[in-house]
Amino acid sequence: MVGRIKLAGLIAALLVILLPSFTLAQDVNFSVSPAEVKIDNLPPGEAAEFELTIHNKYEAVHFFTLTIFQPPEEERREGRAEFPDDSWISLSSQEIEVSANSEANVTVTVAIPQEQKWAGEDWEIWLGVTPESSDLLAVRLYVRLLVSTSTAHKTRPNPGLVAGVVAGIILLGCGGYYYFRRKAKLE
């Protein structure tokens, strides 16, 4: 009786894990270039742009998803700190369709806010490219993005200050003019 209960329990517990496959196993094969991008002297308040190329080496069309990933400290290049904010990086597309044996480009923009505290920094962040798949094993390729900001941050002209300086110059000019004219008259 106990044996029957155990067997019944075992049968009830049976389930299917990991989608049974009736399709042929398919190799994972795609590439991303460049593998590493280094941006130097980026002033806070400015943006830099570059392109990533995804090469689909499959015999069929594939969708690729792009993500931004903060690598752990031990995986970062020496002297590189964590990139402060993922939202400073924008991708022209977070999902891209690439035809069989073709390649497609994604534009990446890195924009640093205009604050002096972001000047003179060395950061690292990774951009991940993953083909959409429901298979058990998937591959993701990371592109290392190394960003260094310049020591001087770019200052945008302050309209109030500019107007004040212009007004000051005009007043100074007029004042000087009347001073010299009055002096000349007195003489």
């Binding site: 941006i39 998937a138 000019g173």
Partner: protein
């Protein structure tokens, strides 16, 4: 007339003194370097493991055990590779039922364990696959993989001590690579 010219010249000099530092700041150029002609790529010769029906608290291994799948470094960059797993979700209703992936390869009620082993890796043996990306190869000071290098590996699944039967669950293991 002389006074007017003197005043204008003085005002222009003052304006230049104020504007020059700002003009100097804008002359710095941004450099974007795409390192070499590098392309990153790895391939796997197997992506599916059709297990079929499984029982509670049982261990399942790929066959061959540790030479089941071959990872090959393509492209022209040396790479470091990582592995990460996830919870196994019910295919019919992923938000309603799942097996949680344990963080040490062990199992429990509705908790399953997953481990990998690389052929030739005698020091680590089976290593748990967790939800946090961990080192696949290299580890502990070994050298990274060069283009053309291969690594064979296998998987081991430990099913939960209890789970709801007749439900098809699905999971995914991601192997990732970054330029070394």
């Amino acid at each position: 007339m002389k006074a007017l010219i003197t005043s204008i010249v003085a005002a222009i000099i003052l304006a230049l003194i104020l504007a020059l530092p700002a003009l100097g700041e804008e002359s710095e150029s941004i450099t974007i370097t795409m390192t070499g002609v590098n392309e990153i790529s790895i391939s796997l010769d197997k992506t599916q493991w059709p297990l079929g029906n499984v029982a509670t608290d049982m261990e399942y291994m790929t066959s061959p055990a540790i030479e089941w799948c071959t990872l090959t470094v393509e492209g022209n960059s040396n790479v470091n590779t990582f592995i990460v797993g996830e919870d196994a979700k019910w295919v019919d209703n992923p938000s309603a039922y799942k097996w949680t992936l344990s963080n040490d390869g062990t199992n429990g009620e509705n908790v399953y364990g997953l481990q990998f082993r690389i052929s030739g890796d005698t020091s680590r043996g089976y290593v748990p696959v967790t939800k946090i990306e961990g080192e696949f190869w290299p580890y502990a000071g070994d050298s990274s993989l060069a283009p053309g290098d291969t690594k064979q590996f296998g998987l081991k699944l430990l099913t939960p001590t209890y789970f709801i039967g007749d439900r098809q669950v699905q999971t995914q293991i991601t192997i990732s690579a970054v330029a070394a």
